[in-house]
Symmetry: C2
DNA sequence: TATTTAAGAAACGCAACGTATCTTAGGAGC
DNA sequence: GCTCCTAAGATACGTTGCGTTTCTTAAATA
């Protein structure tokens, strides 16, 4: 093992730590995410982590930020409803329990460390490929004549993610088909139909 | 002080503990809500609390459940938009930082203790006077001709509270006027306009 | 080669959870 | 009114995990 003697530094080390942190989050979730665990997994020790991040929450957020979201194709099933259902399902699968657990956990800590709240907010409001996906789906529906022309605010574009996240946080479990359909049929599609073009 | 010798029991004691718990939550928030703190404030000791509730989260939920929500009048300003804005503002004020911090905190713990998630879900989905307030506001708007007749699902009725809560949890701070107006104008009013009567 | 920087190991203090042990008050039964 | 039993209250404990301190030593820099 050449590892046992060599000592990583700077960017290389940081990368290894963030990878380890992500792995720990994926395996155990935020509730069992410990700084010690990350250090051990990364083959280093706690002070090295604390020299880089102020606390556990910031480490978790850094690990999250480092993941580049995988952009997948935009659902195109031929109808607004099924496109949206596909999108909501994808959000629910991908956002996953872990992500939401993390938001809850980080947020819970944010009340002790206000800077953390700012970091989390920055992460959540940063432009995501998701909003553009929503826009495309809606534009296609308009082109097909399923909807009148609409003006989509940023708020309207982020609402799908907000709806799914809220449901996760308040339910604490994976959303079933029925719930997703309810969010689409009873909230988001009505919203789109009720928007006015300006 | 006759207190110093007397020993409360049963319901009387339980009441005192829950009152103390609520006071601690109000003063320090869930992040600094400690079992020891509640015990001291209630003039008792930790084991007494642990004989009644399995853990910190259940104690907090019990304290919350015991609070009877104060029903206030239903906004009636003569227009749907201003009624809704008044309602959203009221929710934001009343739900308050504390409540949402608590949901985040309890939820974060719920990933360790699954029973807690069930209790929280029960608390959040239980019928509240709020949904009836929403219904009344909308019915008045229909009567005035501001909206076509609509069928209000349970999901649509709970959406105002969901929207405000999500915003709190992801922002970690009091919602300002602008944000509340955005939720009303760009999400909830469009939703209502887009609902169909069945 | 000498100097400086930061990695890594070990241990600590601290807070808070949840538990175990014991004493004692006060209600219930006789 | 006396005895018994339940539960209150005090104290102390074991554990986990955060965040810190101290010290040694590897590796980059000059």
């Amino acid at each position: 093992m050449p590892e046992s003697k060599s000592r990583r530094r700077g960017a290389e080390l940081e990368r290894a730590i963030l990878d380890a942190a992500w792995a720990e989050l994926s395996e155990h979730g935020y509730a069992r995410f410990t700084v010690e665990g990350v250090a051990t997994r990364a083959g280093t020790s706690k002070p090295v982590l604390y020299r880089r991040w102020k606390n556990r929450a910031e480490l978790a957020l850094a690990a999250w930020n480092q993941r580049v979201p995988v952009t997948r194709g935009i659902p195109d099933t031929g109808s607004l409803r099924t496109d949206m259902l596909a999108l909501f399902t994808r959000i629910a699968r991908r956002t996953g329990n872990m992500m939401t657990e993390m938001i809850a956990g980080v947020m819970a800590e944010a009340f002790r460390h206000p800077e953390v709240a700012d970091l989390l907010r920055a992460r959540l409001t940063q432009p995501s490929p998701l909003t553009e996906t929503v826009r495309t789906i809606v534009e296609r529906a308009v082109a097909r004549g399923e909807l009148p022309p609409v003006t989509l605010s940023h708020r309207a574009l982020r609402t799908p993610l907000d709806l799914v996240r809220n449901e996760y946080i308040t339910c604490g479990q994976t959303l079933d088909e029925t719930t997703l359909a309810e969010l689409v049929d009873e909230v988001y599609l009505p919203l789109l139909r009720g928007l006015r073009a300006e």
